[in-house]
């Protein structure tokens, strides 16, 4: 652990805008979006954090500022230290943006495609930014907080397929269920297992937005 603390101390002397981030385990830092690439490059080349374990994002829900945070987990195969680097995404809610780290680690390619697929975050400079888990042409970003757990009915992307199968719409997979609890502070009544969105189900139609 001391190796990552040292790393943060020397990182802060080079980049004064880097601040500590609360963490329950490994040391973590907040980095301004503009300095992300140079901070990660310095961690990789000077502090020997050579393995990029993970790239992901957090959606802090509508109205939060910043709404999306990109999170990078680095690991050093020599000192066995780990570090978490977080940066807020710039841009509006519809198209948050963060620079791509594919030039530093080619392995970030799929992680960033996944974050784009799930949150709609644009990674600037990514060589091939397209969906990875959902299919091409899927209109939503499912891990955003406003996307319902039950799913949203979707038009089939290929019109020829739709013509042939006569099924033009893919039904949402879990309409009317399942019974779930919600995150955060809540009273006992709210926390009881219940359907996430009770305003519509298999039997009553979805109200017009």
């Amino acid at each position: 652990m001391s190796a990552s603390v040292d790393a943060i101390t020397s990182l802060k002397s080079t980049f004064p805008s880097v601040t500590d981030r609360p963490s329950s385990d490994c040391p973590a830092v907040n980095v301004p979006t503009g300095e992300l690439i140079s901070v990660l490059k310095s961690l990789r080349d000077e502090q020997a954090f050579d393995l990029l374990s993970d790239v992901t994002a957090i959606d802090w829900a509508e109205g939060a500022s910043p709404r999306f945070t990109a999170v990078y987990h680095l690991y050093s195969t020599t000192s066995h230290a780990a570090i978490r680097v977080a940066t807020p995404c710039t841009g509006d809610d519809a198209a948050p943006t963060v620079p791509s780290v594919v030039p530093l680690w080619p392995g970030a390619n799929w992680h960033e495609r996944e974050a784009y697929d799930m949150f709609g975050i644009t990674f600037e400079g990514h060589p091939d930014l397209r969906r990875i888990l959902m299919w091409d042409g899927y209109p939503y970003h499912p891990l955003r907080k406003e996307f319902p757990l039950a799913g949203i009915e979707t038009v089939l992307p290929d019109s020829e397929v739709a013509e042939e199968t006569k099924a033009k719409v893919i039904a949402a997979p879990m309409m009317g269920g399942p019974f779930v609890a919600s995150a955060g502070e809540m009273n006992l009544t709210d926390a009881e297992p219940r359907a996430k969105d009770e305003s519509w189900s298999e039997r009553s139609a979805k109200p017009e937005a």
Binding site: R21, S53, I58, W105, W110, R131, L133, A181, S182, A191
Partner: protein, 410 residues
């Protein structure tokens, strides 16, 4: 006719060489339903004759939205979903998930619980590597290896069933412990399994290790360099076969792994044969760990007794005592009360480092849970390493990477 024709090197050169005439390249889609892709992986390939010039893996056919589901249920409710990540080693996934949440809750589990988890995780490693070995053998035409390894896995499944009540989807851990203590006499049956497994493993491996056909198909095929393996975030046996000695059980010990003596096999070349050898040796080391765990199996509690807001009280107490009933009701409805914070924990699973990144705002439900799946990262190197290889070597390469799509697609 020239006779200086040696595969696969000349083929690899031909892939990048200027052609006198530009023959039309063929595009070929392999999968998502194909026996060599071990699940629902699809490879969109571009071929120049027998040689690949481009390979684009298409994943996501088994995407179930586990991360979205996790945001909508309590921590204990998610345990069965972890079974379905790497479904060849559910016990190891259960353990990785439980430790991640316990780190967030700053909860220490007793030594006996740690020993049970290590024991089951190593048994899961043997079971997962056996399946990987059998399927790899099948891919390159060695049928009997699969039969031998399935036979041994059956013994393991019987032990899992006795311990957890399920053969396949075990859901064994709870936050702060495990679902039940080990049954009477179970440890001696594990020892009996180890006693017959060790010679059987040597016999199974001897079918491949010095097998000329197997060597011809794997040695020097699908070489992943050390630099590439690190750059693409490979972990587990695939990374170690490329010469990086990274094993989280040794480097960042968790669940009491520091008490056990074991070696970390490292490859020198990074080809398919090295990956096979690493897995074989890891099985031997896993058995070594299993024996050590059982030799010094601790007594005492098998769940964290002081974790009153996290671990549900014993069933007989719930039915007879009002306080325990209320406590159980709160844990079931609101979930175990985990403090706010962020935690990232990686465990050394059979396929590589399985990581859980959990963001909590307090309460019984995570705000965000990211699952870092080793198979996903291991597959991302395919688009690089496949270029220049022969079509038939792709099958060998896939077998040697030993991925599970349930984990890759989540």
């Amino acid at each position: 006719m020239a006779t200086d024709f040696a595969f696969p090197d000349s083929a690899a050169k031909a892939a990048g060489a200027e052609q006198e005439f530009a023959p039309e390249k063929m595009s070929l889609s392999m999968g998502p339903s194909h026996p060599a892709t071990h699940g629902v992986l699809r490879l969109q390939m571009e071929l120049d004759g027998e040689v690949l010039t481009k390979c684009d893996p298409v994943v996501g056919y088994l995407h179930r939205g586990d991360e979205k589901i996790a945001e909508n249920m309590t921590y204990n409710q998610f345990v069965p979903y972890t079974d379905r990540l790497d479904y060849l080693a559910p016990l190891a996934n259960n353990m990785a998930y439980a430790i991640a949440v316990e780190r967030l809750a700053k909860l220490e589990v007793p030594a006996r619980c740690q020993a049970i988890r290590v024991l089951t995780a190593e048994m899961a490693r043997v079971s997962a590597h056996l399946m990987g070995l059998g399927a790899f053998g099948l891919d390159v035409g060695a049928w009997s290896v699969l039969v031998h390894s399935l036979n041994q896995r059956e013994h393991l499944y019987k032990l899992f069933e006795e311990l957890t009540g399920a053969r396949f989807t075990t859901s064994y851990t709870r936050i702060g412990g495990v679902s039940r203590d080990i049954p009477d006499g179970w440890l001696s049956r594990v020892i009996a399994f180890c006693d017959q497994f060790e010679p059987a493993l040597e016999e199974t491996l001897s079918l491949l290790t010095r097998n000329k056909i197997f060597q011809d198909r794997t040695v020097g095929v699908g070489i992943i360099s050390k630099a590439d393996a690190l750059a693409y975030g490979l972990t587990g046996p695939n990374l170690r076969a490329s010469g990086v000695s990274l094993d989280l059980r040794k480097d960042k010990p968790y669940s009491g792994y520091e008490q056990y003596e074991f070696d970390v096999p490292v490859g020198s070349k990074g080809d398919c044969y090295d990956r096979y050898l690493c897995r074989g040796e890891e099985m031997r080391q896993a058995v070594r760990i299993i024996r050590q765990v059982i030799a010094k199996f601790p007594s005492g509690d098998w769940y964290a007794k002081d974790a009153r807001k996290i671990f549900a009280p014993p069933k007989d107490k719930i039915l007879t005592s009002m306080e325990e009933l209320i406590q159980n009701f709160m844990i079931v409805t609101e979930g175990p009360q985990i403090p706010a914070g962020e935690v990232y924990f990686e465990a050394e699973n059979p396929k590589g480092a399985l990581g859980f990144f959990i963001v909590s705002k307090g309460g019984g439900v995570p705000w965000r849970m990211k699952i870092r799946s080793p198979s996903f990262c291991n597959l991302s190197i395919l688009s690089k390493v496949c270029v220049g290889t022969m079509m038939s070597d792709v099958v060998t390469l896939l077998g040697s990477l030993d991925f599970v799509m349930g984990e890759c697609d989540r």
